[in-house]
Assembly symmetry: C2
Homo-oligomer: 134 residues x 2
DNA sequence: CTACCTCTTAGAGGTAACTCTAAGTCAAGC
DNA sequence: GCTTGACTTAGAGTTACCTCTAAGAGGTAG
């Protein structure tokens, strides 16, 4: 299994080491394994989770909402440990609710971006014609 | 000519009165006319400008960049006052540069949104199938 | 061995963008 | 004529999110 130091993880996922420790402290990232000297060792699964966190954050989810999303740990791990689906249903439903809301926000943002992109293009056109014709 | 109080302007453009005064103070909005009692009176042109400001801000332009964009006043007004295009060319070129950069940022944001929207949909699908099949 | 780099921690400091407060003015309604 | 409420100002406070510092320990290169 490949393991990464905090610096490698930071470089790979585009979140600074400072921020990774901060996220761990406030409960957004699970505490990773440690090496013999007590240093953090991240797995590829950890990195995938960081990528997910970064994606939703950059598309507008607040840290508080992310916290609400992640608060009862890794679902996949629980499935592997044969926790019955029945017990996971509340978690799953909450996650579905949060992601559905976030999806709506992202669709709205995308729509606004498209509108402002169009308006900006037309403004640029009018500036260009002022320069060439005016 | 229709005139609006700061509260009406705030309501119409979706920026609070506090923020409108703040924007004026830091030079993002031109000082509007005042009534006999010294209160701000906004024109429809002022409102259109607020809408523009809000659009670029919400799509990720910083107040500093907006300041750089607006810093030498209303170009249309100068054109009406018969300022020769030659004198306006530096302003126009700077505005074109800023808007072109912002357009690129918006396109990148839109692309990221599309990717995260797709990833989120697929995650939602997998949650739904855990609930129904798992 | 010593210098250097990166790691650890708790907690302080910084930044962007508001958001509100305090103290006071002004005009309208009762 | 007095209250109400919106307005004015300068400037302090708030929020979200980092970002860094200080103090100290472990491992590596010269």
């Amino acid at each position: 299994m490949i393991l990464f130091t905090i610096r490698e993880a930071a470089e790979k996922c585009g979140i600074s080491s400072y921020t990774l420790r901060y996220y761990e402290k406030i409960g957004l990232l699970p505490p990773p394994k440690r090496d013999s000297a007590g240093r953090r060792c991240y797995t590829e699964t950890d990195l995938r989770f960081m990528w997910f966190l970064k994606s939703v954050k950059e598309t507008g989810m607040s840290l508080e909402e992310i916290h609400e999303f992640v608060k009862d740990g890794c679902i996949m791990e629980k499935i592997h440990l044969d926790v019955p689906i029945k017990e996971l249903t509340p978690s799953l439903n909450r996650r579905i609710e949060i992601l559905t809301k976030h999806l709506e926000n992202m669709e709205a943002k995308k729509k606004e971006l498209e509108e402002v992109i169009a308006a900006t293009k037309s403004k640029l056109d009018s500036y260009h014609s002022m320069l060439s014709e005016g």
